[in-house]
Structure formats: structure tokens, C-alpha cells
Symmetry: C2
Subunit: 294 residues, 2 copies
């Protein structure tokens, strides 16, 4: 039996992870390309995939904001990103110059959400909907309902909601250049540096700032719960660890106060099933396969 080759591009602000896998979601080959200029980075990406002439489809999970309305002339573009040089980049168009195969195009967090959704199903969890949060340099989330991404005007931008401030954190103005104390302005990785003058990895979990973080992240989970009623909320990104999620679950339970039933919290608010930040790559294989089968 011939093995189907499927391409994945996880396009991040620091690096691109390009990989080739098969319909069993197994990675056959993988490479990291540093994110420099769009021209250089996309040329290297194209050159990499040229080595796989049997490639059947490619899926791209990109940092954003991106245009994903198919009826837009900018479909496939990275739009008004603050990342230097990358605003208004025709990402998909560049790939189409060299490859005449089906392509899927979505956000990094949507790709991760899809990977976790597919993996949950493979693990026989009864999942119809899932939210994937990343809490890293920025904060974002992707959501899948019945195999489709949420967002018809555009992709979600949950990093910029407002929250009830923690009583012990009222003086911190937040670091979002657009909103100050939005979710991202209060809990992204760089908030550790802003609050304490050192990176989060050097702040022990006994520090009270982690309780404050948990209070905010729990409110974000609460919003998704009450607006979407998903079956599961997955948290990834550099800031997140299982001990941190223990705190998040405790705050979430207090905030929800039993108002709706979400089942066992240890199954509801969870770390990714796919290890080593592989959720988006796996999601991409699944999205590429879906595009190929269309």
C-alpha cells in the first residue's frame, strides 16, 4: 500500500516547523526554519517541500492575524501583524506558485485545536467540540465544533477580552499595547518580566503571582465554557504546566460555583494529548488529509 504524504507548516513568529507525515499522522520528516523575512522563510519552506514530489496536500497553521474568509481577495494572507516585514504577506499564494496540490489554511491555534480534537477522537473520547488555548508570548485560542472552526467574520482573538481584576493585582496596568489589561496583557509570558523583573521560568509556583494568573486564566476558561459549552478545554504554551492547571481548575470551580455541569474538571481543563508541542503538526496532517479527500 502506498503511503500518503501530507505536508504541515506550523508558521510561528520565531520559527517555522515544516513536516511531512502520513494519513496515520506519523511524522516521516521534520525541519525547523527560523522566521526571518517572508521571502527567505517562504523560499526555504518551498525548497523543503520540493524534496517530496509525492506530497498530496499541505496544511498551514499560521501566526496571525490571517485572512480566512474564502471570498476575500486577501484569502491566504497574513494581514496586519505587528511582526516586522510580515504584514500583508500572501503566504498561500507563494506556496501555490510552486505546488499544485490541495492546501488548507488556518491559524496556529486552530491547527492545534484540530490536532487535539482528532487525537481525542482517536483516544475514544466523546468530543464534539474543543477549545485550544495557548499562553505563551501571546494568548490565543482556536475552537472546533463538529469538525469545523469557529469564526465566520474571522478567527477568534480571545486574548483581548476583559476580566475581573484580582484584588491583589489592581495596580498592574497590563502590557497589551492595544488594551492594557486584557487577558493577554495580564497573563502572557512577558507579564512575568513586567510584574517581577524576571522570566516566568524563574518564578516558583509558590509565588502568589501564579494564583493571580490562575484566577485570570480560569475566567478565560469560564468565558469559553459559558459562551460555547465545549466538551474540553486544552491549554498549551510556555506558561502552562500541569501544576499550574491544578490552580486554574480550583479557581474555575470557585468561579463557576456549580452553575453548569462540565463533568470532571481533570478531564475538562487539560494539557495537550499530543506531546512536545506537536498538536498543530498533527492537526495539519488531519486538515491536509481532509483537503485531499474533498
Amino acid at each position: 500500500m502506498a503511503i500518503l504524504q501530507l505536508g504541515s507548516i506550523e508558521a510561528g513568529g520565531t520559527k517555522f516547523v515544516c513536516a511531512v507525515g502520513n494519513e496515520d499522522y506519523r511524522t516521516l520528516d521534520k525541519v525547523r526554519i527560523p522566521t526571518t523575512t517572508p521571502e527567505e522563510t517562504l523560499d526555504k519552506t518551498v525548497a523543503y517541500f520540493k524534496k517530496f514530489p509525492d506530497l498530496k496536500a499541505i496544511a498551514i497553521s499560521s501566526f496571525g492575524p490571517i485572512e480566512l474568509r474564502r471570498n476575500s481577495p486577501k484569502y491566504g494572507f497574513i494581514t496586519d501583524t505587528p511582526k516586522k516585514g510580515w504584514a500583508n504577506t500572501d503566504f498561500l499564494g507563494r506556496l501555490k506558485q510552486d505546488f499544485d496540490i490541495p492546501m488548507a489554511w488556518t491559524t496556529d491555534v486552530n491547527g492545534s485545536a484540530y490536532g487535539e480534537y482528532v487525537t481525542s477522537t482517536l483516544f475514544n473520547e466523546k468530543i464534539n467540540s474543543l477549545v485550544y488555548f495557548t499562553i505563551g508570548t501571546g494568548v490565543g485560542a482556536g475552537a472546533v465544533i463538529d469538525g469545523k472552526f469557529v469564526g465566520s467574520m474571522g478567527h477568534p482573538e480571545v486574548g483581548h477580552v476583559r476580566l475581573k481584576r484580582h484584588p491583589d493585582d489592581l495596580d498592574f496596568p497590563g502590557i497589551c499595547p492595544f488594551h492594557g489589561d486584557c487577558l493577554e496583557g495580564l497573563v502572557s509570558g512577558p507579564t512575568f518580566d513586567a510584574r517581577l523583573g524576571k522570566p516566568g521560568k524563574d518564578v516558583p509556583l509558590t509565588d502568589h503571582v501564579w494564583d493571580i494568573m490562575a484566577y485570570y486564566v480560569a475566567q478565560a476558561a469560564l468565558q469559553e465554557t459559558l459562551l460555547l459549552r465545549p466538551d474540553k478545554i486544552v491549554f498549551g504554551g510556555g506558561v502552562v504546566s500541569e501544576p499550574f492547571l491544578v490552580k486554574v481548575r480550583a479557581e474555575f470551580a470557585k468561579l463557576l460555583n456549580g452553575y453548569v455541569d462540565v463533568g470532571d474538571l481533570t478531564d475538562y481543563i487539560v494539557m495537550p494529548l499530543v506531546k512536545e508541542n506537536g498538536s498543530a503538526t498533527l492537526g495539519d496532517y488531519a486538515l491536509a488529509l481532509k483537503e485531499y479527500n474533498k
Copy 2:
């Protein structure tokens, strides 16, 4: 040509509005039944629809919480409502005792959301998704994406999210018995009585409390915007008026700060298209028709 008769039950905590309409969403007959005990109210409801032997389907938009997971033994029930006598009421089961026709079952706000969604489409708006908020005795919202309701674990309960407090409202504890200062605890109709000792209809729009209300309601709209990216957000309920929405739009614009494009705010944050609280009844006709055509 025979006219299709479709039944609508808008089941509220104060009254049931029962109506019969046709596939053009025109009302042929309508009656109000006060909400007393489940037995009496549902008996009267059944008796009303018995007068229409040609009825082809019925849709119910009910106050909640309700069970809408079809695989649940309690599907069709009003579940743990605080409304006296109504907890654990087999609403759909009672109707099925007397009618052997297709029935749709959803929440009051979902019914309204669907009515507005259908009407928007009839008005040639390009709408793929819509959120309907009610701000009345309680606060809730329903959401439709591509013709389907959002919520796979259960229906949304957006009334209980937390918000950034307005600097001039920090001392008000909120009135939600479960959460204090959740959205409903801060902006439902009875908060006027709690804050000012008089009902909202007696508080002029020049009163600063309306700015505070607008700040919170704008945050609720912001959450829906950033989590769902809907095409339109409709506000109904006794507290809402067009002059109030003018304030809400202004606060929303400040909070969003141009971060995502939602188009013209006067088309995005709007009053219902269907007049006289008729959104749910119209939505019910459409849902009943859909059930009939299945």
C-alpha cells in the same frame, strides 16, 4: 394550495406565548397563557393546540436551564430551574402524550437567535452566524452558526461570565445569588432596583448608571466578538433600547480599539429586526418547519 400550520411555544417564566403560523412565518392565531404550575400551564397549552388538527409540527423555545442533549434520558426536560414547581419538568414528554407530530426543542434565546437569523437572511443580509442577547429579568444569549445552535455540552449560559468592573461601580456587589457580580448580577433589570431603589423604566438615560450598564454590556458583546466572531449581535429584553445601544456601541468601540474588523457598528450591535418581541415565535415557526421537512 394548502397552508402549512406550524406551532410555536415561547415558554417564559411569566407567560407562555402559544401561536400558530405558516411557512411564510405569518401568525394565524396567538394566545397568552400565564405560567402557573407545570400541570396547569402545559394542559392549557395542549388544549390550545388541539384546536388546530392540521398542525404539522411544533417548536418550543423555553426558559431554562433545559436538557437539549438528545442522548440524555432527560432530553426535553426543564432541569434545575429555581422557578418554583418547574424543576425536573418533562415539557416535551407532556406534549408528546397528545401530539404525534415532529417537535423542536430549544432555549428561549436560541429561538430568538434563530428568528433573527432567519429574518436577516430574508432581508438579504449576508449572515452566517448571529448572537441574540436578552437583558431582562435575567441575562442570556443564544448563538447560531451556519444554521446550528452553539453548545454541545449544553446551551450557553453567558449571563454568568465575569467582567472588568467600572471604576464608578466598584462598591456594588451584584445581585446574582450564585456569583454576585457576574454579568447578570450587574446588568439585569432588577439591578436598577438594587442600585437605585427604583425600576429601570424610571431611570432616565442621562443617569450615569446607564453608562456603567453600557460598559458591562459592551464587554459582553466584546467577549462574543472575540470568542465567536459572529456576523451580528442582537440585543432584546426589557432593559434594551436603541438609545442605550448607542452607548453600548461607543463603549464597545473603545474596548475593541480597532483590534478586529466588525464592520459598521450600527449594523453589528442592533435591536431585533422582528418587532414586539416576536423573534422567538418567528424562530419557532422556522424551527418547526425544519423539523417537518426532515
